[in-house]
Symmetry: C2
């Protein structure tokens, strides 16, 4: 973009992202930000949202898009058992994108930061000759960190919240919804002006919430943990590959929302398949020794967050299997290396 516009946008964002914690010595506006760090384990991650890959401007309200850019990154830090503290924002912006749209994205990012207790301390803005590109780099502190690689045969497998809502919401938004419905979504309507269940699913996709208190509390109790962003089956595959184990999931125990069940039933689909394969759930998937069950339940009870025990970690030679009351069911698992 023209330098002049870049500078105007940086100034606008500088106001939106005014520092709040007092931990930042030098924020936006210099070649780099300076933070006085306490010693200890720091945890770093980055996640990108690309237009027409991860979001569609036609129905993603910019404020919620900004919020989601923060949420998906917080989800990674949370899955390590960490607490997010700071972030950098890099955006590549199509020239046709107006300042008001960018301001709303900025406000959504700032809102996400307040919600999850972190601060934007710097970034980079440039022109894109193609899609809009929003990248967040996030970091924070962690005491006891959880990894993908610690799962042990005999562990219970747990997952938080509901699965598949986001994917169903995406399918609805990008296919079935009519223009009036998309306009309602874009105006961030209250659910009483749109089918309540549809709104629930769409919201799961465009405005995911991360329970960022759960990660640090549960991390000391688990053997392995990951956030569900590629779909439960794939993310379970990541844990199994990294931990060199197999797993068994009881499909009848998958946490399915009433909205997803209703949506799938109306379309003759199996909601469990959507729950397994659909991504962007931003829930925690973890394995823990059975003797941790009561501590785990009390963590999630205290947070009022749903947490379901859905299976068991097995020896690697047993593979990754999915069953229900009718027996074993074929499920494709991406990313799991059967031969490693």
């Amino acid at each position: 973009m023209e330098p002049r516009r870049e500078f105007v946008l940086i100034e606008m964002l500088e106001k939106i992202f005014a520092p709040s914690s007092g931990k930042v010595k030098l924020g936006i506006g210099d070649d780099a930000a300076v933070v006085d760090c306490k010693p200890g384990n720091k945890v770093f991650s980055t996640d990108t949202l690309v237009e027409d890959v991860h979001f569609n401007r036609a129905f993603h309200p910019p404020r919620l898009l900004g919020n989601k850019a923060i949420a998906v990154n917080v989800s990674d830090i949370n899955a390590m058992g960490g607490e997010a503290e700071f972030a950098l924002l890099a955006m590549a912006i199509p020239q046709t994108t107006g300042d008001d749209y960018l301001e709303k994205i900025g406000q959504g990012i700032a809102e996400g930061c307040r919600q999850y207790g972190l601060e934007i301390i710097g970034g980079d803005i440039t022109r894109s000759p193609g899609p809009f590109f929003i990248n967040i780099m996030i970091w924070g502190s962690v005491k006891k960190y959880a990894t993908r690689s610690g799962a042990k045969p005999g562990d219970d497998i747990w997952v938080t919240g509901f699965l598949g809502d986001s994917h169903a919401g995406w399918l609805w938004l990008s296919g079935e919804a009519d223009e009036t419905e998309l306009e309602l979504i874009k105006n961030e309507v209250k659910e009483n002006r749109l089918n309540e269940k549809i709104f629930f699913l769409a919201k799961a996709n465009i405005n995911p919430k991360v329970c960022s208190k759960a990660g640090p509390l549960v991390a000391p109790l688990v053997n392995s943990m990951i956030d569900v962003s590629d779909g439960l089956s794939n993310d379970l595959g990541h844990i199994c590959t990294a931990s060199n184990v197999g797993a068994e999931i009881n499909l009848d125990l998958l946490p399915l929302s009433p909205a997803l069940k209703w949506w799938a039933k109306n379309r003759g689909k199996d909601p469990r398949k959507i729950a397994l394969a659909g991504g962007e759930d931003y829930q925690l998937l973890f394995s823990a020794p059975p003797e941790r069950e009561s501590e785990i339940r009390s963590v999630f009870d205290s947070l009022k967050v749903k947490c379901s025990k859905i299976g068991k970690i097995k020896e690697k030679t047993r593979g990754i299997k999915f069953f229900d009351k009718k027996g074993y069911q074929p499920v494709e698992v991406e990313g799991w290396d059967h031969f490693a």
Copy 2:
């Protein structure tokens, strides 16, 4: 991109970016990386290279592109007086881009990391439906940090290296060069197969080198510092705005390479204008009290790096002025707020 390809690429990059320092507790392959941080000031920055904005695949060898992605980020940390230690890499990749191209970019990034003493500890890979995006987030440690905002009237203005070579190189690469010449550049030929001066200019653009030892050494001696990435006149404007001062630059003292002078003369252009307006020099621009001159000279002498005194910081009311032996010359300064 398809999850499967993402995982294959991550595995490839994991090998290329094998950790080396022993400071990383958990690197690529989990939801986030974990580093055991020593206490003190940490410095954070991010910079993005977008295809067809910052680079052109037709003549930018991927290995050098990867190296440049690191160099431009190191330049920001250097301009703060910091030492880069770690980085995250986020890439959005067009589906037509082959694995071999990505491998070469990865190798260039790894080479840049070795050159500047840092490590890639994580990142994000996704599909782009448009141009290639390479984003690096970088951080490190800093003792005495320099900012844009400390310049004081009476300071000398200094700049390292030569100015304008990169911009002239870009003009040549994107306009005048014929296909055979671009092919030679793409094959990273030695200068003896291409006009030596042209090769010098093209290299300044596609393979910039940052003197990363200079920043930490000179930072304690300066009142303000910035890296020259938007062009000298604009970056001087940033210092003047942030410091609330004016400046005077003697155009006859601008450091111009023999290659730039030759190139400009052949085209009837003023090389000083290219030096002022052209960006991507990745040199240090700083201001310091006159009594620091001998210390500054001895820093750059010891590093065998060219450093030129080109002007003076003035009161804000005097504005930003450029003169030569014929008197004051009009130069546009972007980003300087004349009315703030």
